[in-house]
């Protein structure tokens, strides 16, 4: 027992110190900064004020916030619509090919996400390959303007974040027992009813986890909006970054960051509630 106590105390103290210094204290500082006034020399002046929060209500910023949230939600929905059938299809394949197919989903994740965003730019540019292909086949007469649009930002986000949706979905489909589907159809349920009342509730935890894993990074990835959206289609991440690195308005950047955190906390809470509901329901009927 001799070494147990010092080892334990040391480890617990180390991790507590790290979390307090690099997580708790910094967040406290951000909250404090959001209630102060900007100062050109010292970043902030010690003077209480709500003006940063008032500025968030400014229609210009409010619309950036809503647009950004809209883009992030569209990205999440697109990832779900692409990823759900994909994860299902992979999970029903023979066991020997599955590891390879999942490996192929993870592999792009190993290339720098900035590089992948840049690759999208090559494809979507006005004289890029997609336009060349469309012109060549004769579908369009004029090259389409795809780059620097909201669609380009969403396409980039979907491309970078899709693996985060597919992996949790694949995990739940792998656990989905095939006999439950048989039971459902033996009992006379049409495929749609089997999907609605058996498959969907049982895969809901994966759906929710995937949506969170896509949505949370999607609001902050300012570089995707920078490279593919130009200066016009901003994410909340761009606003925060500009305030901290270019405009040097810490209080306003901090207030925007707190608003973002609150929005995300609300979503996490919704996730927690629905996950609990799903657990209870699937515990009651589907798996009883």
């Amino acid at each position: 027992m001799k070494l147990r106590a010092p080892f334990r105390t040391g480890v617990v103290a180390l991790i507590w110190a790290w979390m307090l210094l690099f997580v708790f204290l910094p967040n406290l500082l951000v909250i404090a900064a959001s209630f102060l006034v900007r100062d050109d020399v010292h970043f902030v002046r010690l003077e209480g004020s709500l003006q940063s929060y008032a500025r968030l209500l400014d229609p210009v910023y409010a619309s950036v916030f809503l647009d950004s949230l809209g883009m992030a939600l569209t990205t999440t929905l697109a990832c779900l619509l692409i990823g759900y059938p994909f994860a299902y299809a992979v999970s029903r394949l023979p066991a020997r090919v599955k590891p390879l197919l999942i490996f192929l989903v993870i592999l792009p994740f190993w290339t720098n996400s900035l590089v992948r965003t840049y690759a999208m730019k090559l494809l979507l540019a006005t004289n890029g390959l997609v336009n060349q292909a469309l012109l060549g086949v004769g579908i369009v007469e004029q090259p389409l303007r795809m780059l620097y649009t909201e669609g380009a930002v969403i396409a980039g986000l979907v491309y970078v974040l899709l693996p985060f949706m597919i992996l949790p979905l694949y995990a739940v489909f792998e656990q989905l027992r095939a006999d439950l589907l048989e039971v459902s159809s033996d009992l006379g349920a049409q495929p749609w009813r089997t999907f609605r009342y058996v498959v969907l509730p049982l895969t809901m935890p994966g759906v929710l986890a995937g949506c969170l894993l896509v949505l949370i990074p999607a609001v902050g990835m300012f570089y995707v909006a920078d490279v593919l959206g130009g200066a016009k289609h901003l994410l909340i991440g761009n606003v925060i970054k500009n305030q901290f690195l270019d405009a040097r308005d810490w209080p306003f950047g901090a207030a925007a960051s707190i608003l973002l955190t609150l929005a995300m906390a609300l979503l996490l809470y919704a996730y927690y509630l629905s996950a609990r509901m799903v657990r209870r329901r699937s515990g009651d009927d589907a798996l009883a």
Binding site: V12, W18, L122
Partner: protein, 253 residues
């Protein structure tokens, strides 16, 4: 139904790999125009090799990623062991904080650390990057190692203690060998996250220590540059090799 399924899978893989394939193919393009193929050339690789600032940034990134991964694997493993084996005050709060770090958007963590470093007078550069990267990698290591700890039979530990091993001996000869693959997996995850990070680095970086993703960022922000294609191909090849090597070592274990 079957061809529909396979066709769909093929289509998604095509979407996943087409942009990367284009990058790789055009890295060998002779033309400056990044959209028109004009024959094979290694010009962009030669330029890459001559670009000292870029090579330096790549070396910096490797140094940062390996040190951040090592430090977070070390602290994260100890934390996972403490969370799994010991009862201490504030355990739930600690768990909650790790969860918050994992779930909060990178940019929120980034600005909070920037404010901290400026306030404490930490010079922005290698040290600030290292501290920030360890902080966002930590929870991932903890989760990975903790999963492994909960997955094996805890009686082995009890047996070791009953047979007279001290806590330290038990850790060294029983627990660490068992969780070692998970520690390595955590290290690899940290290394990847660190190497890929743009969002946190851009805030806590300084002029003395430039990292690769930020260098690439400044290159691709304005227009398209064929050197980036060559760089992307090199990076892709390296990560493929690293992945194959890690698979090989894990399979041999």
């Amino acid at each position: 139904m079957r061809w529909l399924k396979h066709g769909y899978l093929g289509l998604v893989y095509l979407l996943l790999y087409l942009p990367i394939a284009v990058l790789v193919v055009f890295s060998f393009n002779a033309s400056r125009n990044p959209y028109r193929w004009q024959g094979l050339s290694l010009e962009w690789y030669a330029r890459l090799w001559d670009n000292d600032a870029l090579i330096q940034a790549a070396a910096n990134s490797l140094l940062l990623a390996s040190s951040a991964a090592t430090l977070s694997a070390l602290i994260g493993t100890l934390t996972a062991i403490a969370l799994h084996r010991y009862r201490f005050r504030g355990k739930r709060v600690l768990n909650g904080m790790l969860f918050v770090v994992m779930m909060s958007p990178d940019i929120v963590l980034a600005i909070s650390l920037l404010v901290l470093f400026i306030l404490l007078g930490v010079k922005l550069g290698y040290l600030s990057l290292l501290l920030a990267h360890v902080t966002f990698c930590l929870p991932f290591v903890v989760v990975t190692v903790y999963a492994r700890l909960s997955g094996f039979n805890a009686q082995i530990i009890e047996a070791a203690r009953d047979l007279g091993a001290s806590e330290w001996q038990m850790l060294r000869t029983v627990l660490v060998p068992i969780i070692f693959p998970a520690v390595m997996a955590g290290w690899l995850l940290g290394f990847t996250l660190s190497l890929d990070d743009v969002v946190v680095s851009i805030f806590v970086t300084g002029p003395t220590f430039e990292v690769l993703p930020l260098r690439i960022y400044s290159m691709v922000r304005l227009g398209v540059k064929p050197e980036v294609n060559a760089l992307a191909t090199v990076l892709l090849t390296l990560s493929l090799l690293a992945l194959l090597a890690s698979q090989y070592f894990l399979a041999r274990k």
